[in-house]
């Protein structure tokens, strides 16, 4: 019998108050040839301070580099205010999200780094001639923000550390495709999730809308699709305003990860608890039926008495 057991204890975990968070990229430096793709991970160090919101903006040179995708897989961010987005024209990448209850840093004994924000997948362009090798910097923009988990949204002091990529001349016979390898390994669908139908006076003019959220621990959630009754699958995001407001049909939501694995959850609108006025209507109906039955009984008794007296 052999089973690995990792024990992580908080005995050594004493928070140090510094009000500073470090945003950094990993690897700090690397060499790639033209035609290769690589993964740069954006991470955070909190030095024991608890944070709950991260707004990160990255800048990169567009002459030789392009972003192919941004993955949320294995991110500590569980609620995304804005899906990660990028512009290969402007050389920017942005992501914005938070951790409900906060993130207080890595704990001693943790078998992983557990501080990943996002994976940015870069490709080295093949169009331009590279000679001699060029060194390119990828940096966090100064407008990036990290907010403390203090109930007030206090900004943390940010220290940022970018990455330096050396682009080498020529194209290898077998170019490295780090992201493709991750996609090929990913056989696991996104995490199980729940969907909920809501109705709030302040949102969508009081109409019914869906809420859903999940994560994917490998390549990250790519997109969601919603199907109402026999309708088509439609690309969607939460909150999703329902097209069919009478809630008569089964609703399905499916989450796809970047590798194409999917997780489906369904919700069947069911009878809700009856409001007070419905109980009044039911009570009136019951009373009418009772009165009618009593009248009928009385009439029958009267008839029987009349028949007996006639006899």
């Amino acid at each position: 019998m052999k089973r690995y057991l990792l024990i992580i204890s908080f005995l050594l975990f004493l928070p140090i108050s510094s009000h500073a968070a470090t945003l950094y990229l990993e690897p700090e430096s690397a060499d790639y040839y033209q035609g290769e793709s690589f993964i740069l991970t954006a991470r955070v160090l909190t030095k024991g301070e608890c944070i709950n919101t991260i707004e990160a903006h990255l800048k990169f040179p567009t002459d030789f580099l392009e972003i192919k995708d941004i993955s949320q897989g294995n991110s500590i961010i569980s609620l995304w205010l804005q899906e990660p987005r990028f512009s290969n024209k402007d050389g920017t990448a942005d992501f914005l999200g938070g951790i409900p209850g906060g993130y207080c840093g890595q704990i001693p004994g943790d078998p992983g780094e557990s501080n990943l924000l996002a994976k940015i997948i870069f490709g080295v362009k093949t169009e331009a001639l590279v000679y001699p090798p060029v060194s390119l910097g990828i940096e966090f923009s100064k407008v990036s923000q990290v907010l403390l988990n203090d109930g007030l949204g206090t900004p943390a002091e940010i220290i940022s550390r970018g990455a330096r990529i050396m682009v080498l001349s020529g194209q290898p016979a077998m170019p490295r495709q780090e992201w493709l390898q991750e996609l090929e390994k990913d056989k696991i669908p996104p995490e199980p999730f729940e969907i909920k139908i809501n109705q709030e006076p302040s949102t969508f003019e009081g109409k019914y809308f869906l809420t859903f959220n999940t994560s994917d621990k490998q390549t990250g959630v790519d997109h969601y699709e919603v199907k109402e009754g026999k309708g088509e699958w439609l690309k969607a995001a939460s909150p999703y305003l329902l097209k069919n407001q009478n809630l008569k049909n089964k609703i399905l939501v499916r989450a796809f990860d970047k590798a194409g694995n999917e997780r489906i959850t369904e919700i069947i609108p069911s009878e809700k608890s009856k409001p007070f006025y419905q109980w009044i209507i039911i009570a009136i109906l019951a009373m009418i039926i009772i009165i009618w039955l009593r009248k009928k009984l009385k009439a029958r008794k009267k008839n029987e008495n009349e028949i007996i007296s006639d006899i």
Binding site: L6, E191, E200, S238, Q278
Partner: protein, 359 residues
């Protein structure tokens, strides 16, 4: 006779009307069914015999190959924990899992969470911000253990929220940890922050302020009282065997103004909790009844109201529904979703919501 007919028609119309009202008004959405399946994998005995939930054992691969598991080729082997080792399997195209997460099931892991709250506390455990376990009871010493089987590998944030005997709730205490494939990860030494309450929210200088709550039995409480200029006064108290703690604070040392109070616990075995929820009080004429209206501080400005911040739909929970309302109003003005009342729904409102999150 006509009266009888009119009465019968009236009754009939009433019945039809009521029937129609009931028919059109009784649909709503309440039940969700998750169609996911996760397999628990426990290695019972490494003896070439597949037992329990073992996928394989030594060289016994249960007649499985890389191809039968959905790969295109390569060599399948068995891990020491009796799970398939697919690292030598090859794939040429992504495999799409069927509805409900079917397809290949990877070796799953187990997480054991051990910690201390308050005696007989009721715990809620969150996984990545969503409620995962609700209503779990701590024992008479405040200890609790939760085992999560069949979890896939990855980075998880487990959150803990405790409700004490007086229904006071703690803030969420999060632990973020990496769970490797096919192993058991035990996280121990979790100390839930204490609950905290104040005897009064507004008082005269020199009044005695009772600060109290529940904590780990016989833990030492460090109570922090901070004024508007961030000057901090530290006081200490000790929790009883039943976890109840109380500190009577003489406010004669304070000047008029608002104060914030929070507390954290330290145990004799060296554990230290994060700080509790922040509660606030005010000292001075400003909040005393019968004083001039020009000095009255609007009630919404009293920070104590912060206990329900972010609960936009009034269900006493701050969860995905409230997050959706915030997203709906993002970067716009909404009286309903602008938590800090600065005229916009922005990052600060989101951060406050994250702090008060209940799942």
């Amino acid at each position: 006779m006509t009266g009888k007919i009119v009465f019968k028609v009236f009754i009939l119309a009433l019945v039809i009307f009521a029937g129609l009202v009931l028919y059109f008004d009784n649909v709503s959405a309440q039940s969700a069914s998750v169609t996911a399946t996760v397999r628990v994998n426990l290695c019972v005995n490494q003896n070439e015999i597949i037992e329990g939930d073992e996928q394989c054992d030594g060289s016994n691969l249960d007649s499985q190959t890389c191809q039968s598991l959905g790969y295109n080729g390569g060599t399948l082997s068995c891990n020491n924990n009796c799970s398939f080792n697919t690292s030598a399997c090859t794939v040429t195209a992504p495999v799409v899992a069927g509805p409900g997460g079917g397809g290949y099931t990877p070796p799953s892991s187990t997480v054991i969470l051990e910690g201390t709250a308050y005696p007989e506390a009721t715990l809620t455990i969150l996984k990545d911000g969503q409620i995962f376990v609700a209503g779990k009871k701590a024992d008479s010493l405040g200890k609790f253990t939760e085992r999560i089987f069949g979890i896939s590998s990855g980075v998880y944030t487990f959150g803990f929220r405790a409700k004490d005997k007086e229904w006071r709730e703690s803030v969420v205490f999060n632990v973020t940890v990496t769970v490797p494939e096919g192993v058991t990860v035990m996280v121990s030494g979790i100390l839930i922050p204490p609950t905290i309450e104040l005897g009064k929210l507004s008082l005269k200088k020199g009044d005695i302020l009772d600060i109290f709550g529940e904590s780990s039995p016989q833990s030492e409480l460090e109570i922090s009282i901070t004024d508007a200029s961030s000057t901090e006064t530290i006081k200490r108290s000790l929790a009883e065997k039943d976890g109840v703690w109380l500190f009577s604070f003489d406010t004669s040392v304070l000047s008029e103004g608002f104060y914030q109070v929070k507390a954290r616990a330290k145990t004799s075995d060296g554990l230290e909790s994060p700080f509790s929820k922040i509660v606030s009080f005010a000292i001075g004429k400003a909040l005393l009844p019968g004083e001039g209206p020009e000095e009255e501080i609007p009630e919404e400005e009293i920070p104590e109201k912060a206990g329900i911040l972010g609960d936009f739909n009034g269900d006493n929970r701050i969860n995905l529904t409230d997050f959706s309302i915030l997203l709906h109003w993002w970067d716009r003005y909404s009286a309903a979703a602008d938590i800090n009342k600065d005229g916009f729904v922005d990052l600060v409102d989101f951060s406050i919501m994250m702090y008060y999150w209940t799942g």
